[in-house]
Amino acid sequence: MSWAAHELESYFIQKHTKVSVSYLAILIGCLLPDMLTKLPVYGIKIGSFALKADVPFQYHRGWPGAGFTHSLLFGLLVAALVFRVTGSREWFLGLLLGQWAHVLTDVFDSVGTMVFFPFTTQHYTTGMWAYAAQQGRYGDAAAYYSSLGGIWDFLWLALALTGFRVFSKSYFFSTVVPADPAWGWLRRRFALSEIAMLALYRAFFVYGACRAISWFLWARFVDHAPLDLRWGGPYWVDKVVLPAQSWQSYLGNTVVGATGFAITCYLAWRFVLRRWWRAAGERRLGIAGVAKAVDVPRPSGNPGHD
């Protein structure tokens, strides 16, 4: 699994998405698959109540288990549900992009994700670093930040920093806020100041960057975990590896999964999403029409700001 990458990728996606999209939705989409699944993976104990998955990787990424949260179709379903409730194109796209980014990012560890679930339970993985959630939170942190996984986080940090303009105040107020009614709601509901809104926007970048640095330093100087930057490392952890599979079976599953997913996307768009998309556009045009009707003539000689 990726650690800080999921916070950092939200800024990168937002910067490189050419259409209007909600940053908050991207962020929630990026965090969504792990939001409720991480606690049982590592185990939680409150008094006499204890919750821990018997086989963490199976629960987290497999089926039966909560592995469906790490599939492309889950992102489509959640985004469609939110689209139906809010009617916001920006939230639909943001959730979809964020959740899909999480699914594809987690492909890089040794367990990977069931990208095309439920059409196939085939896991897709590159095995770049060891999946070690069964070692507990600290064991996993030590393994992750001693392998290429840690480098992966720093790569996302560098990518986010290449688009440093997205952290500027002017970008936030000119691009992020107008694309998302949720900022206005947050400001009114919690009486947020301009400083607090900006801090909230930047917080997940600061947190993601500091989290990667902090865990990396902890693994080096407190846990003294040996660094192993070889593919599939670190060598010293008992990592989860899926059973070997023939190429024929792999390709067959992929064809079935990709076809099923593509057909589902087409049908969802053809019979449901397209209608909602048009309705959202018409609502927006309606608002624009009303606003134009009440527009007050501008004093002559005053330059426009649109």
Binding site: S170, R187, E194, W218
Partner: protein, 104 residues
């Protein structure tokens, strides 16, 4: 720093403002929402990050890293971590502004 919700429009940089109502995010420009430009009463808004602001974020980051090494999961989780940053920035800004006004 402008108070939130002010519709103060700069003649040089129109982009930085927070609309006061639920028209935020409607995708409409100020004229489309029936908002007429008027001369600024409090001057143009601050678009550039000040040294104080950058310093506060750097301090928040360093605190989070150092405390994170000690506290680990208690601080470095996806709820407490970002909440720490927001709280740190807001309180530090408030303290510095208060200190500045007291000196005056």
């Amino acid at each position: 720093m402008l108070p939130t919700g002010n519709l103060v429009m700069s003649t040089t940089e129109p982009s930085c403002f927070v609309p006061p109502d639920n028209s935020v995010g409607s995708g409409l420009g100020p004229q489309q929402r029936g908002i007429v430009d008027r001369p600024s009463e409090t001057g143009p808004p601050q678009h550039q990050e000040t040294r104080q602001e950058i310093g506060i974020y750097v301090a928040a980051g360093i605190s989070l890293i150092l405390l994170g090494i000690v506290l680990r999961t208690a601080l470095l989780n996806w709820i407490v971590g970002p909440a720490f940053v927001v709280t740190f920035v807001v309180l530090a800004n408030r303290l510095l502004d208060r200190g500045r006004s007291a000196r005056r």
